[in-house]
């Protein structure tokens, strides 16, 4: 498949995530939308990794290492996303204990 399909798919997922972050009011759903953005990036990185491998292969180079770093990056993103989830959910739980809601419209105490 041409790389454009992957590019458009992951940009569409990324945009859905971004619009979700900007419009939704529930902290958990915003959080899910951020994860969607990260996973769109993962998909794109894997697609580009394959593309660079293919390009090196067709150019007749020794293609063994080409594009590997893109897949490596995906693992790092997954690990960091997991760390972020654990901290983020802890923060949301802390908030819920104090105000019994996860609606971000409650976040207006700091406006002066």
């Amino acid at each position: 498949m041409p790389i454009n399909y992957y590019l458009f798919l992951s940009l569409a997922l990324f945009t859905i995530g971004m619009v979700g972050v900007l419009t939704r009011r529930n902290a958990i759903i915003i959080f899910m939308c951020i994860e969607l953005m990260l996973n769109a990036v993962n998909l794109l990185l894997v697609a580009f990794s394959k593309m660079h491998y293919q390009a090196a292969f067709e150019a007749g180079q020794v293609a063994g290492q080409a594009g590997v770093d893109g897949q490596l990056f995906v693992f790092f993103i997954m690990v960091v996303a997991a760390a972020e989830v654990s901290v983020g959910l802890a923060i949301i739980v802390m908030m819920y204990r104090n105000v019994h809601s996860v609606d971000i419209n409650f976040l207006n105490r700091l406006k002066h």
Binding site: I3, L7, S10, F14, G17, M18, V21, A27, I30, F31, I34, M37, L38, A40, V41, L44, L45, F48, M51, H52, A55, A66, G67, D69, G70, L72, F73, F76, I77, V80, A83, E84, V87, G88, A90, I91, I92, M94, M95, N98, V99, I104, F106, L107, R109, L110, K111, H112
Partner: protein, 456 residues
């Protein structure tokens, strides 16, 4: 590399010291010793001594500039711990954990000032911000702290997503994460590359709180416990700026025509929003958070100009801005309320503290003889080679900043003592504060003491 390894190790030591040591001030001394060791190791690396021979080619490059920047940062962290470390004990019972997180943040700071690959940039920024989310919300029963933490987390993760998308698009265009690979001179910069660069610019603006992506900063800085605001607004901010300059200098120098105008607009807008909004604040803590946005506008001039003067200037700016702001926050932490009125008549009761504070504010405003003046001078000199109008605008904005900084000085010297509850400063603290103020003056008179280190 020395300091990076030991900072991660010392974070673990701090976690265990919380279990092993019952007295909290002893835990604090362990942390101070840790930072002192980090400074020693970093200076030793500048002299060419390595703890372990690790090959980090293509990932991290601790060149002379990065090492000197790291030494400056670590010195600022040491001064921060000595001046304000005791306030951590008042937030909660987990002082050792906060210090452990602090060491992990230091680990990230050392990474972002020396990265050589976009992967390390991403990891470094995440290592800095994830512990900061926790520290922001460390005052668990305080709703303001909760709210600041959630806001910081949601926006921080959102901007990380944008950063990653930028990196992915650049990887698509270049097939490499290394800065040298991204700065490929043979291949043309196609739309994939340019849009990736734009996304990186937006994400980095989020992280350094440049307008129009600054709106989270005042809320987060205001809601976080003041000790940690002090850390976030100073050391963390200047380290991310070093990353910003390094990224655009190393990898996007060829496309300078595509991004320079955007950075100029960001700098002008940041200077405007930061300074004008700071004028209307009623709380000194909130004023300082807007002031940090305004100072970020000045540091953006270094990204805009992108020449040797700008890099020297950024080093000096990092040192003087961090020292002055850490000093002001150290006094603010000891106050009961953060309004301007709380400073009324401070000079009659504590003349030395007031004198030191005056020097800090003069330095932030950029008055000659203080370090802040020369830092601003270097920035303006660097930007003057590119654009006269931006420089003129930044000078006007620096004049506006004098207004709100001098409000505090005026309150200290010319207002009668109010009925507010008495504040106490012990003599040791006062001496340290004067020491920091003297350091700022010395930097203002002999900037070569710091910048000259770059050329040995």
């Amino acid at each position: 590399m020395n300091a990076l390894l030991v900072s991660a190790l010392w974070g673990v030591i701090m976690m265990f010291s919380g279990v092993a040591i019952k007295r909290m001030n002893v835990v604090r001394y362990v942390a101070m010793a840790g930072v002192a060791i980090l400074i020693g190791l970093n200076v030793a690396e500048m002299k060419g001594w390595h703890l372990l021979a690790i090959d980090t080619t293509g990932m991290l490059a601790f060149d002379h500039y990065a090492l000197l920047f790291n030494s400056t940062l670590l010195l600022a962290v040491f001064i921060y711990l000595v001046l304000s470390g005791s306030a951590m004990e008042r937030i909660g019972a987990h002082c050792a954990d906060y210090l452990a997180l602090l060491f992990f943040i230091i680990c990230g700071l050392l990474m972002v000032s020396a990265f050589e690959s976009l992967l390390i940039l991403f990891l470094g920024i995440e290592i800095i911000t994830i512990p900061l989310y926790i520290l922001t919300g460390s005052d668990k029963k305080n709703l303001k702290s909760n709210e600041a933490s959630l806001k910081y987390f949601l926006l921080g993760a959102f901007s990380s997503g944008i950063l990653l998308m930028g990196i992915a698009l650049i990887y698509g265009a270049r097939g490499s994460f290394a800065l040298s690979g991204v700065a490929d001179t043979i291949r043309v910069s196609n739309s994939l590359m340019l849009s990736g660069m734009l996304l990186l610019l937006i994400a980095m603006s989020f992280k350094v709180s440049a307008a129009p992506f600054h709106f989270w900063t005042p809320d987060v800085y205001d809601g976080a416990p003041t000790v940690f605001t002090s850390f976030m607004a100073t050391v963390v901010k200047v380290a991310v700026f070093a990353a910003f300059v390094r990224l655009f200098d190393r990898s996007f120098a060829l496309q300078i025509n595509a991004w320079q105008a955007w950075v100029a607009a960001l700098a002008a807008l940041t200077l405007f929003m930061g300074n004008i909004t700071a004028v209307f604040q009623q709380s000194v803590k909130r004023m300082l958070s807007y002031s940090s946005i305004a100072q970020a506008g000045f540091m953006l001039l270094a990204v805009f100009a992108m020449n040797t003067t700008a890099k020297e200037g950024l080093l000096l700016y990092a040192a003087t801005y961090s020292l002055a702001t850490i000093g002001i926050f150290a006094v603010l932490i000891r106050m009961k309320d953060y309004s301007f009125e709380a400073f009324n008549g401070l000079a009659s009761r504590y003349p030395w503290v007031a004198a030191a504070l005056t020097i800090f504010f003069l330095s932030l405003a950029g008055i000659p003889l203080t370090g802040g003046f020369l830092a601003k001078f270097y920035m303006i000199k660097a930007a003057l080679e590119q654009s006269v109008w931006l420089v003129l605008f930044s000078l006007v904005m620096a004049a506006v900043s004098v207004f709100y900084y001098f409000r505090v000085i005026q309150a200290m010297y010319f207002k009668p003592v109010g009925q507010t509850d008495p504040i106490t400063f012990d003599p040791g603290f006062t001496r340290l504060l004067i020491g920091v103020a003297v350091l700022l003056i010395v930097l203002g008179l002999f900037p070569q003491l710091l910048i000259g280190q770059l050329y040995f």
